[in-house]
């Protein structure tokens, strides 16, 4: 398909708006045609420019991801981002190019970091390495297996959900971010600050959604059906007799000493319980 003319594009844009807002069932055909006309050639040409993305199907894979991303975010990130219809064909075109641009950058970075998790976890001889943290509960045991066991155990702890969630999202950040190369104390500070910066404004149910979505990608973070139902039930319970716990913002749980110190405190509490469980032989 050649690139559309401006008139053709404006007609397709109008049709797209009609399709994606159709009350009897949204369709995404015009959106796909717009993406194919503009983004496919753009993505393929970017892939050719970067040696690591010249492998077979890179362009196809990235284009496919972009298409899915547009279907999932055309309403909340563009057409209705302010609550009313944002009828802006030119702005829309700029936006979809930006989505495509970011997808190519992510793909290039993901390719370069292939095996990132493994590299973080093992040394040159393939031996597991410790996460450099003073009170790291995984220090003396095989890391992947232990992580799996720890997550399973932490999810069942009877501590408050905000404390359990803190431990889990912090572990996800610790593994995702390249902070493990720093000295122990720096890691603690950086990662606690990241937890605060990333999650403060989110509600408890949003944080749980993120944990579930991350769990799909992380083999050692499993949430059983039973745990999932238990947590969903807790999120629906009223907090201080008012809103459901799921609607409460994470930062509302912070103590007076501030977000970073609170996170550090909660993580230590969970770590202590893990160490106890390890000593008792239940992990």
């Amino acid at each position: 398909m050649g690139k559309m003319t401006r008139d053709e594009y404006c007609r397709e844009f109008a049709l797209m708006v009609q399709e994606v807002t159709c009350r009897s069932g949204a369709k995404y055909d015009a959106l796909c045609r717009i993406a194919e006309s503009f983004l496919k050639p753009y993505i393929y040409s970017r892939c050719l420019k970067y040696p690591s993305l010249r492998f077979a199907n890179a362009g196809d894979d990235i284009y496919h991801d972009v298409l899915i991303c547009l279907i999932k975010s055309c309403i909340d990130k563009f057409l209705y981002r302010n609550g009313t219809l944002n009828y802006d064909p030119d702005g829309f075109l700029r936006w979809i190019y930006t989505v495509a641009r970011n997808a190519v950058v992510d793909a290039a970075r993901a390719f370069a970091s292939k095996g990132f998790f493994e590299r973080e976890m093992v040394n040159e001889d393939g031996e597991p390495i410790d996460i450099p943290s003073n009170d790291n509960p995984f220090a003396s045991v095989e890391i992947n297996e232990t992580l799996h066991e720890c997550f399973r155990a932490v999810l069942t702890f009877d501590s408050s959900l905000h404390i359990i969630f803190t431990w889990i999202v912090r572990a996800i950040l610790l593994i995702r971010c390249d902070v493990t190369s720093d000295a122990g104390e720096v890691v603690e500070n950086k990662v606690n600050a990241l937890v605060v910066n990333t999650f403060s404004d989110l509600t408890m149910s949003e944080i749980y959604a993120i944990i579930c979505l991350e769990a799909k990608k992380i083999p050692w973070l499993n949430i059983s059906e039973a745990e999932n139902s238990r947590i969903l039930g807790l999120l629906e319970e009223p907090y201080r007799g008012e809103r459901p716990l799921g609607d409460v913002k994470y930062s509302e749980f912070f103590m007076k000493k501030g977000g970073k110190a609170t996170v550090s405190d909660w993580v230590n509490r969970v770590n202590m319980r893990i160490i106890k469980a390890v000593n008792a032989g239940s992990i």
Binding site: K3, R6, D7, E8, Y9, V20, T21, R23, G25, A26, K27, Y28, F38, Y42, R46, C47, K49, Y50, L53, H64, D65, L67, I68, I71, K72, S73, C74, I75, D76, K77, R81, G83, Y97, T98, R101, V104, V105, D106, A108, R109, A112, S113, F116, I172, L173, R176, D178, L194, L202, T203, S205, E206, A209, I210, C212, L213, E214, K216, L232, L235
Partner: protein
């Protein structure tokens, strides 16, 4: 109006295949988000945080400047707008 369940939001955000079932889900969630700012904000903040997390991972300092120059997008758009119908 019944809000989107967390499970539905998670399925919507995580689907990675274009098929009839997922398109039906996308239609349902997207149409609800047009009417409901509460669910729209919820989906948006989860999507944004996931993107944020993604940006944390990967090898730092991977040079992508030779593939992506923001000027490129501008020149794509300039070409398009300069194009005669």
């Amino acid at each position: 109006m019944e809000h989107l369940s967390l499970d539905k939001i998670i399925r919507f955000i995580s689907f990675d295949e274009i098929n009839d079932e997922n398109l039906r889900l996308a239609s349902e969630v997207n149409l609800h988000m047009i009417e409901c700012s509460r669910c729209r904000n919820k989906v948006l903040s989860i999507q944004n945080t996931l993107e944020h997390l993604l940006s944390y991972s990967g090898v730092k300092g991977v040079d992508v400047s030779n593939i992506i120059i923001d000027e490129d997008i501008r020149s794509e758009l300039d070409n398009f707008y300069g194009k005669k119908d």
